[in-house]
């Protein structure tokens, strides 16, 4: 089979897009963290036990709060190209189309559930002069929406692990499959944030916010790196075929 020059050019362009999708993984971390730092969500987020006055003061803190949250909402959206690229790479070698499809749907849902809480936070900061209780309500809503709807992401992890560990010629190394199982596990108990206002199981706690933040960042960097690497490898292969 010989490919025409234009077909080869199209394939190479597609692989360059794939590499960019890979870069979106670490970019998600960088841009979202930058946004949260600007807004003051990081290094120390509002607590589930924060007083009404503290919550109101945070959102009335100045224009850097909505700006930082806007930047973070762009950051968390950068996961979308990565999710699409992972489905593409799974589908490339795997003749089980459902795995790639479930990954895509679960990943898209996760992305939506990360963007929405940013919008709710922005809404909370939109009218600092509204009754304080409403700001507290919006803040609770934003944080619980942000951390507790973990099931779509856990499904995504399980599907990726299945695709990697049960296919002999998966693009991703096998340890990435095990990594997905572990990252999924670190998210399972985030639902505890519904029940606790203080301690390590509250939304701002070590085992909820900080553990999930760490494992999600590791996941984004590792998956992004391997998507990019797969793109580079495929590009080299297509050049050698010439």
């Amino acid at each position: 089979m010989t490919a025409t020059t234009s077909e080869r050019a199209t394939a190479a362009a597609e692989l360059r897009i794939l590499a960019i999708c890979g870069w979106c993984g670490p970019a998600t971390v960088a841009v979202a963290f930058a946004g949260w730092l600007v807004a003051g969500v990081l290094p120390f987020p509002l607590r589930a036990s924060s007083t009404t006055a503290e919550v109101v003061r945070f959102y009335a803190g100045g224009v850097h709060v909505p700006l930082g949250i806007a930047l973070a909402s762009v950051g968390v959206s950068l996961v979308i190209p990565l999710v699409a690229a992972m489905s593409h790479l799974v589908r490339r070698v795997d003749d089980r189309p459902l795995l790639a499809q479930v990954q895509l749907v679960a990943g898209a849902t996760t992305a939506a559930l990360l963007v929405v809480p940013m919008l709710v936070m922005a809404t909370a900061g939109f009218r600092p002069d509204r009754p304080a209780d409403l700001t507290v309500l919006l803040n609770d809503l934003a944080w619980l929406l942000f951390l507790t709807p973990v099931a779509p992401f856990v499904i995504q992890n399980l599907v990726l692990a299945t695709a990697v560990l049960t296919h002999p010629s998966s693009v991703f190394p096998r340890w990435v499959g095990y990594l997905n199982l572990w990252v999924g596990f670190t998210f399972t108990f985030d639902v505890l944030a519904y029940a606790f206002h203080t301690g390590p199981f509250a939304w701002h706690g070590l085992l909820i916010f900080w553990l999930a933040l760490t494992s999600y960042a590791v996941w984004l960097v590792v998956m992004g790196w391997h998507v990019r690497r797969a793109a580079v490898t495929l590009l080299h292969e297509s050049e050698e075929d010439r």
Partner: protein, 201 residues
């Protein structure tokens, strides 16, 4: 690569252990999983320092006999998993199934006793957020119970693969499921000590 012999065939092969039967990725997964649990243990020990009298008073309401029996049940199940892996490696399908049935029975006893304990604790007015000690009690044992569930599904899948006309699970798969079950066991050893022994007055 070693594979399980077809069922029914008498085997002359000695069971053997291959250095790469469980992959590095699986070991790393187990270690990281245990590390997450270690963070829970650390949080517990940290709060034990600041609420020692309350913790010891409430720990006394747990039955260390039930906890101790559950420990013995899990230790027995772990031993049976060793038997199952050994039988699987030597191609002894009937022996593997028997041992796995035993493990699953132990898991059922463990879950049953845990439920009895939960009912007792809840009837005595304790709950997930009733006090720091019982928060840890329900979270630690609940998360562990979740692992017992996952482990049971893995063992059940392994056992089903040995049914007539199915492709038996690979040796690596069987050993990985076994290693997962041992982790469930050893995590309980620490949880049992922290909640039932170490906090005792």
């Amino acid at each position: 690569m070693t594979t399980l012999l077809p069922p029914g065939r008498p085997t002359a092969r000695e069971p053997r252990r291959t250095a790469d039967s469980v992959e590095g990725g699986m070991w790393a997964f187990l270690l990281l999983d245990m590390t997450v649990f270690a963070l829970f243990f650390g949080a517990y020990a940290w709060d034990l320092r600041s609420h020692r009298p309350a913790f010891t008073a409430e720990a006394a309401s747990l039955s260390s006999v039930v906890g101790g029996v559950n420990t013995l049940v899990l230790l027995g199940s772990s031993y049976l998993v060793v038997r199952a892996v050994h039988a699987h490696r030597s191609g002894d399908v009937a022996g593997t199934r028997r041992a796995l049935t035993g493990v699953l029975a132990c898991a059922a006893v463990f879950v049953g006793l845990k439920c009895v304990e939960y009912v007792h604790a809840i009837e005595s007015g304790h709950g997930l957020t009733s006090s720091p000690f019982f928060s840890y009690y329900f979270v630690l044992t609940g998360l562990h119970l979740f692992h017992v569930g996952i482990g049971s599904v893995l063992l059940l899948t392994w056992r089903r693969s040995l049914a007539h006309g199915r492709r038996p699970a690979s040796e690596r798969w069987a050993e990985s499921a076994g290693a997962y079950w041992h982790m469930v066991d050893l995590l309980w050893l620490v949880i049992f000590t922290l909640l039932y022994v170490g906090s005792h007055r």
